[in-house]
Amino acid sequence: MEWTEWCEQLLTLAQDGTVLSFWEKLNKDFYQAFVQEARWKMYVEGMGNTLKVAVLALVLGFLLGLVVAAVRTFHDQRREEKTGVFLNILNILCKIYTTVIRGTPMMVQLLIMAFVIFKSSRNLVGIAALSFGINSGAYVAEIIRGGLMSVDTGQMEAGRSLGLNYLQTMWYIIIPQAIKNILPALGNELITLLKETSIVTAIGLRDLTKAAQLVTGKTYGGFMALFGVALIYLAMVMVLTWLVNRLERRLRNSER
């Protein structure tokens, strides 16, 4: 007898009130959560949306973070006598951005985006990616800024004393050294981002978590579906962690 047929039988038995053995119940639940009515497709679709949101948000967050970090660092490293009004205003805007974004819950930001700012839009992936990108940018900015500041001030002085200008010194001397501190932290930010996207269920986007919720609603049992998506998240995070660790090791090796 084929496994699917066996599982269908178990399903009917269970509906009739027959008590199944542990092994039979496990098979039945698995069948219901993933195989019946091709439900695995929901997880695949959900995972696709989760990854789409995470990757788009990372790209947006990185670009935003880069700009904010550049403004903040450039402003802080300018001599007091030479600060321009324009740069001062930009710096204040950047400070407000990081303060507000890091000071309010991600969930609230997401709801505001979906139900206030873009309430007529149905592009849920876009809205989610935008929200997470703006959120992530504030953290990425601090990661980049911290990385740049972690490089000894003597390096900037040595570069400038050789006649290199500010941007040349940044590009050839400071940034290559800062990257060692920035990249691993960025990897961790991506991991956090990936997991945190699960709250997009709140705006109705069918991500991986939503898939589990939908299946749970249909099968009246959440064990398999929820543990299933937990495992999928875990697998994705482990792959990312492995990549980040490899990167870290390679960067460390480049020193020698």
Partner: protein, 250 residues
Amino acid sequence: MNGKQNEVLIQVRGLEKHFKGGEIKALNGVTAEIKRGEVVVVIGPSGSGKSTFLRCLNLLEHPTGGSITFDGVDLTNPKVNIDVHRQKMGMVFQHFNLFPHMTILDNMTLAPMKVLKKNREESERKAMQLLDRVGLAGRAAAYPGQLSGGQKQRIAIVRALCMEPEVMLFDEPTSALDPEMVGEVLEVMRDLAGEGMTMVVVTHEMGFAREVGSRVIFMDGGVIVEENSPAELFGNPSSDRLKSFLAKVL
């Protein structure tokens, strides 16, 4: 180095530097001149402002008041492009400040290639010549982390020389070194002085000051207290502050 001996290269007038909005007064009106070919050694107790004075010369610290004229150009004028003038002022730091992510050779060729726009071949030839002179040609492909302190400082000196500067500024170049490595660095500096390089050296090495210096400046409390030839300054100090300083360090 060239025929313009005794011409004033750096003229410092009434130099003042305050930190934290005037709370700390590091320099209180320093006036000095450095002639071409001179080796000026600056000594003094810690906190006397001697390092600040040196760092003001190439505007790593921006003076609060006074002026610095280098090669006829007032560096404190905000319109002056300081990068152009820094090329001609080599600087050696207490903590070497080599670029740890680059090989020794890349450390030395970066500025000539990016600032002077020399090609790689020419820059590397010059760098190898200089490395050879300080006996480190074999370490060209090494990274700074693989070198001893003395070697790092010798590299830092020749890295600055790659830009063919008109003056070399030394900010306590031997203070971070193990005692047995001080000699090799001073040796390189002595050779450099012998070739007629204009040098301003902040140091605690009184032996070097006495032997190599053409003039010694004693600073305390952000001002120049005494200034004289080494023989006079060490042999016949006139101020009480210098006398008590020398009594402690000699």
